[in-house]
């Protein structure tokens, strides 16, 4: 009898293991609410149309805001079953890639970059899913940055822009009275700080790491007259201005004006050092200085051309040929965007996450009404209208990464590798950028 029981137990264990393995997809399906993000088709649940969305996790409280959004949306649209899944930035590309491989992509995705999805014919043109009001309300440069051959494939969800931050107390003590406006003035200020403070203060923060080395390339090349592409939109990675820009980065390192490990120092320790007052200058995002920092700083336009790097993430719509009712699905997605981009609701999200709006009405509204909204996880602290007024004014002048180019990922990694090779002295800037240009455009 014991042996029979043992055999049954073993068989049961085997079956339960097989069930765990075979039911892998089930774990991805949220416990409640019709078809989750792990379901390919927005199948009607009852009379409802189900749509799923994957949203990037921008902070510790992103889930909180979107849970409330989901409730409010479903209350306002009783014929739509919305299922939102929040995924961290660390995992989102892997999660989406896996879903695509298993043909379980969501209806709506919030991520950065869309050209590869367009290249694989996975997306619907986002412009077909927004009303004219929503369409005309986007800041034009943001709207246009999401177009490939005249078709807009993604909607800007939020933005941030980069500025040059200067610790004015340190600069003044070193004899520099104003924030540098040219690249030569940056070098002069760095020398003055190094002469005055020696090793105790790092004059300039430089990040050419895998994390954001492409941002450094953008800062220096754009503001020295170069960039990723030329006026025709063709790759121009080995332009004279770009060579000069990369050589300038090397000069910063060789002169001992920047942090000692720019190859591995990401922006986060640099931001910490600036907030702690041990680093005099750096280029960073508008919300980079820690809230409890006592540093007396100025955030000014980048030296040279004064072009800021605009970072803009997107919302996009995936194709789903197996949806039972395409018209109902389209209407449901349109309803989602109309609801999300409502001026007050969208503004609330921008204040909650601490980003800048990509729409005109929210930019205007937040310039005087940010105090009506609370910052996520702040215990009730409200937004600062002055902050939005200052930075929203810079947004129209920002330039963006060429995210609409399908080779962007290769270019991004290529410029980082070129910067690192040049700054290590392994190769000249000209040779490194010529090789990259040949690899990409050739």
């Amino acid at each position: 009898m014991k042996k029979v029981l043992a055999a049954l137990l073993a068989a049961a264990m085997t079956l339960s293991l097989a069930a765990c393995g075979g039911g892998g997809d089930k774990s991805n399906t949220p416990p409640a609410g019709g078809s989750g993000s792990g379901t390919p088709a927005p199948a009607p649940s009852g009379d409802k149309v189900a749509i799923s969305a994957i949203i990037s996790q921008y902070g510790n409280y992103t889930q909180e805001w979107w849970t409330q959004f989901e409730k409010n949306f479903e209350a306002a649209h009783d014929n739509i079953d919305l299922n939102i899944e929040i995924v961290s930035w660390n995992d989102i590309y892997t999660v989406v890639s896996t879903r695509i491989q298993s043909e379980q992509q969501p209806d709506i995705l919030n991520i950065s970059g869309f050209a590869d999805y367009v290249a694989d014919d996975l997306l619907m043109p986002a412009e077909e899913y927004v009303s004219d009001h929503v369409k005309n309300n986007f800041i034009p440069s943001f709207w246009e940055s999401n177009a490939i051959d005249g078709t807009v494939w993604a909607l800007p969800i939020l933005a941030s822009c980069r500025a040059m931050f200067c610790n004015m107390d340190l600069l003044n003590e070193a004899g520099i009275t104003a924030a540098p406006k040219t690249w030569d003035e940056v070098l002069t200020a760095c020398k003055a700080i190094k002469d005055k403070f020696g090793d105790s203060i790092v004059p300039w923060g430089l990040d050419i790491s895998t994390d954001e080395g492409q941002a450094a390339f953008a800062y220096y090349t754009w503001n020295m007259g170069g960039g990723f592409v030329d006026a025709n939109g063709d790759w121009a990675l080995n332009s004279e201005a770009n060579i000069k820009a990369v050589e300038y980065m090397k000069q910063l390192i060789d002169s001992g004006y920047c942090n000692s490990a720019p190859y591995t120092d990401t922006r986060y320790p640099l931001q910490d050092a600036f907030s702690a007052g041990t680093q005099a200058m750096m280029i960073g995002a508008m919300n980079m200085v820690k809230a409890d920092s006592t540093v007396n700083y100025e955030a000014v336009s980048l030296p040279g051309e004064g072009i800021g790097l605009g970072v803009c993430d997107q919302l996009m719509v995936f194709k789903n040929d197996s949806a039972p009712d395409q018209a109902a699905r389209t209407e449901a997605i349109k309803a989602f965007f109309d609801f999300f981009y409502d001026c007050e609701r969208y503004s609330d999200y921008m204040v909650f996450e601490g980003f800048l709006p990509a729409t005109l009405d929210a930019s205007e509204y937040l310039a005087s009404n940010a105090e009506k909204h609370t910052v996520g996880g702040s215990g009730g602290a409200t937004g600062d209208s002055e902050y939005f007024k200052t930075f929203c004014a810079q947004l129209p002048d920002c330039q963006f990464y060429p995210l609409s180019e399908s080779k962007w990922i290769d270019v991004k990694n290529g410029v980082i590798e070129a910067e690192q090779q040049v700054c290590q002295g392994q190769i000249s800037a000209k040779d490194a950028l010529d090789n990259l240009q040949a690899n990409i455009a050739g």
């Binding site: 097989a18 000692s260 290590q424």
Partner: protein, 309 residues
């Protein structure tokens, strides 16, 4: 005379059934483990092999059979060749030095002295701490601008200004090897200690009677009898160090310019940063084959040596 066959036939039939059941029973008990290994080990291995021969788009779409394209692309990359060399150096240096130092430490800890238990506990600490934590700590210790090492050396008057401990890729990699050795020593030490404690004291007494010196005893008694323990620790260490990810990724992420990668960090970067999943799978297969060959040769040689003994 006729009664004799009866007792012979009866016992023969019953045990056969019992024997069959007993023969099947272990397999039934093993079945869950076999199924689990199949699902968790074999399926991923097969999938990686399949992926390495597939063209996977950057968005993650499988575009069909790619033949040897992923492998050919990998072999054309200077970074891959450098990574391969790094991986060999990393494995030999970390396993080799940690084994030598672990043997020395094991021999010391096998001696009786005051505070031996405390020292043994201290030796365990690096092993008991998560690799990622140790790597992050070391990354901050060696940072030239705000690291503890420069601060300490300046306060002790050994250096006058900050030293850039990671000025070149070679220096970065040397630090990574150092951290690798540091975290591997405890494992070897405790393998050696367990081996030492199983050696019969009478062998040393006999050697002493024969007039053997310390070195004679070490090379003629201790090390030969430690070989089984060292074999286990070395094989496990080769596999473990070869596949180690956290130290290199945390300290340098393979930078500057992909000069400090090992195969594991390189394939991770290819897959998750560069979105080249097919090529990353090809690197994974290459690593798998190298490791399988090395482990097989080592095991074969060890088994043959044992057989000869």
């Amino acid at each position: 005379m006729k009664e004799n066959p009866k007792p012979r036939t009866k016992p023969r039939t019953k045990p056969r059934t019992l024997l069959n059941k007993r023969a099947i029973e272990p397999y039934i008990w093993l079945l869950p483990s076999i199924v689990m290994m199949g699902v968790l080990i074999l399926v991923p291995i097969i999938t990686v092999f399949q992926t390495s021969f597939s063209k996977i788009s950057k968005a993650g779409k499988n575009k069909g059979f790619a033949g040897l394209d992923n492998y050919l692309w990998i072999f054309k990359q200077p970074a891959f060749r450098h990574t391969l060399m790094n991986t060999v150096v990393w494995t030999i240096v970390v396993v080799g030095l940690s084994t030598i130092l672990g043997i020395i430490l094991g021999l010391v800890l096998n001696e009786k002295f005051h505070g031996r238990k405390i020292v043994r506990a201290i030796v365990v600490f690096p092993w008991a701490t998560a690799l990622i934590i140790q790597s992050v700590i070391w990354k901050y210790i060696i940072n030239a601008d705000y690291g503890a090492l420069n601060t300490l050396l300046i306060k002790l008057g050994i250096i006058k200004s900050n030293v850039n401990w990671t000025a070149t890729p070679q220096m970065f990699f040397a630090w990574e090897c150092f951290v690798g050795i540091l975290v591997t020593i405890p494992f070897v030490t405790f393998c050696v200690l367990s081996g030492l404690q199983s050696i019969d004291a009478s062998l040393y007494e006999a050697a002493e009677v024969d007039g053997a010196s310390f070195w004679n005893k070490l090379f003629s008694v201790t090390l030969p009898l430690l070989m089984p323990s060292l074999t286990v620790s070395t094989v496990l260490n080769i596999i473990y160090v070869f596949n180690s990810f956290p130290i290199v990724w945390t300290i340098s992420k393979g930078d500057p310019a992909d000069m400090t990668h090992t195969l594991v960090t390189y394939l991770y970067k290819l897959s998750f940063t560069n979105q080249r999943v097919g090529e990353a799978a090809a690197v994974s297969v290459i690593g798998f084959i190298i490791l399988a060959v090395c482990a097989s040769i080592y095991m074969f040689m060890t088994l043959r040596a044992e057989k000869e003994d």
